[in-house]
Amino acid sequence: MTIHRSPDRVDAVVIGAGASGAAAAKVLTENGLRVVALEKGPWRTKESFGGDELANVNRYNLWPDPILNPRTSRTSADAEAEVDLFCPVPQMVGGGTVHWQGWLPRFTPNDFRLASIAGGLPGTSLVDWPISYAELEPYYDRVEWAFGVSGQAGANRYEGPRTRGYPCPPMPQSRYAQKFHEGCEKLGWNSFPTPQAALSRPFNGRPATVVSAFAQQHGDPSGTRSSALNVFIPDAVATGRYELRPESYVRELVLDERGRIKAAVYEDADGVVHRQEADVFLLACGAVETARLMLMSTSGRFPNGLANSNDLVGRNVTFHEYSASVATFDDPIHAWAGGGYVSASSFEFYEHDANRDFVSGGHIAAAGVGIPLPINWGLPGKPTWGAEAKKVDREYFNHSMAVAMVLHDMPQHENRVDLDDTVRDAWGLPVARITLTPHENDLAQGRFLVDRCGEILEAAGGNDITKVYADRVTGNCSHQHGTARMGEDPESSVTDRNCRVHEVANLYVVDGSPFPTATGANPTLTIMANAWRVAELVVAAGARR
């Protein structure tokens, strides 16, 4: 039997306790609001994490279990959708920041006006953002300093103006970062230490980050990395105004008679259903799950999903794509040290260049090939088993590295997240279905960037260069954006410039969903900065109520 409970009403409900939800909760609670966070997954502590690649990468210790939390994907509306772990992100307190290595570049000023700069692109829904870099810059600064980012201001020649430098100097130079810099220098290309969600020295009462090999895709047993779990959640808890309810799966948002959100309906770990009321609601589930929750929340007023009168919820979804060139070197690179992602970067091919035959560009950086071990990752043209495969493993492990790119995939109206007709999750709810075909611009840009990655390796003295071109978008970055794009015009966007949903006055979206474009940079710093901005606007709007 289902039992309904109605906990006490609060000022704000934040749905999701990952990067954006934790950042927003910190700001709301520190400004005096009483906040309940409803997080679908568990609240794990550092003691529950370990250096175990089998558990963390192969056995869904951190990734969503596809039996319990499947998604489906297909390449067009006519195709059959198949169950697929498309663009997974850990579903737990801290979200993706639990197992990331946290590359945190800022977007550039031109990212916010790419449509104007590039003049549009047929077949895409490319638009300028309704906000500018200048508006976001103070929030980049706040996040970098609250969170603890290690980097070198001014080292990225293409970065926009900044209030001040980073709170910590760059992380120590790995050998793969060194090779990357050397290659770029030979080519005359700018390179810089990748700004990282880690502490190169003690900061703000926290010790320096432990440089383990079990880092990217592994939780942090030392509790020393900069993550939502280690920083923003404790900040919010410290206010005494933050009640974080893990294993609380929101199934629906229900409306009141005025068309505002009245309550979030959620199921707890014991199957008890609760209705949590609040003045204001913030969606922070990640762009896929936020769209899914909106589409599951149907009503007489919104028969096609919450705030979806214009059929834009879930559309224009972008995912980036990670691909790379790989090479071997005569001297040892140890690209597993630091987990393979204590890196160096270049924005040399990030900005749009009218002389190229495609729009925009992307972030290029050094990386390891395993995570850290070569259990799972491989290369085209290399055997998977037998004596030759063993030889490749031995030759590559200490002597290979990747130079990788973040593809700036273009938004398209037909690329979307909606609800699968047949597949349901372990709670009986319809799962997110991804419909996606890359634009030819994505493929051309990807080829160009992977070629540049190969040139860096070659200039650095790399041998046996393998180029892995991205011939489709698979969601392998775990980056997701665009499903509730922000804009000035309610006809062509889901939220306004403040990330408030046009059609529902007390509903905000603070994850990557409002991003009109993906940009070519890792999005989480900007997601957190924007969540901070929106949370301040929510506080200000509340003060006027």
Binding site: A55, P221, I371, N376, W377, L379, G386, F397
Partner: protein, 223 residues
């Protein structure tokens, strides 16, 4: 089950010998140890025994006890893998008898390789196409684009599952029954932590394997 009892197993004697021999061709023994010395068959035998060895406790002290939906999901996954092994071994043996009138384990190594190649190519039209195009697509078997962050075991046929489990048993932490005495790590040159506890405690650092100069090359002119 108590911590001191003999590790649980799944295979009968014949299945175990067949899998061990096949794994020995997937990561062969040469001047360095291979799957046989690493005990990868112990790794997969334990995995298929049930859901008692899915997640080692992160400090290396025993295994997590799974409950609820998670336990159900893992039971489903292990059941599927068991059925693939049982049917896959049977089919491999049928083909070996058809071709050589012999069990797989009694074949010459080159004959074993030929039989494994045959089930690899029969297992998937994608693998067949990929074989014509390039020898393989990715380490670990699944014919997927390279550089995926996850590995969905449920999608793999018997041969690719066997390859994946051999690699897992060779390179994952010894707590899971394979990678005996860290021989897999020694073969590829991973100095590794002594055990899971060393990582869990935060003692394990890899800074010794960074560049000698910790200042980024790109910043040296600015100093």
């Amino acid at each position: 089950m108590s911590e001191t009892s003999a590790p649980a197993t799944f295979f009968d004697e014949h299945q175990r010998a067949t899998v061990e021999a096949a794994m020995a061709r997937i990561i062969p023994t040469d001047d360095t140890p291979g799957a046989r010395e690493a005990g990868t068959v112990d790794f997969v035998d334990r995995y298929l025994s049930g859901i008692g060895y899915i997640y080692a406790r992160p400090d290396g002290n025993g295994f997590e006890r799974l409950e609820g939906r998670q336990a159900d999901a893992w039971q489903q996954r292990v059941d599927l893998a068991r059925s693939k092994y049982v049917a896959g071994i049977e089919e491999l043996e049928r083909l070996c008898h058809e071709e050589y009138r012999s069990n797989f384990v009694s074949l010459e190594e080159s004959q074993q390789d030929a039989m494994l190649r045959r089930i690899e190519r029969a297992g998937s039209p994608e693998a067949e196409r990929a074989w014509k195009d390039t020898p393989a697509i990715a380490y670990g078997g699944p014919v997927e684009p390279a550089l995926q962050q996850t590995n969905a075991e449920a999608d793999l046929d018997f041969f690719n599952l066997l390859v994946t489990h051999t690699r897992q048993g060779f390179l994952s932490d010894p707590v899971y029954g394979g990678n005996r005495d860290q021989v897999g790590w020694q073969v590829i040159g991973f100095p590794g932590p002594a055990n899971l506890a060393e990582v869990h405690s935060g003692r394990y650092s890899t800074l010794d394997y960074f560049a000698e100069n910790h200042t980024h090359h790109s910043l040296e002119g600015n100093r």
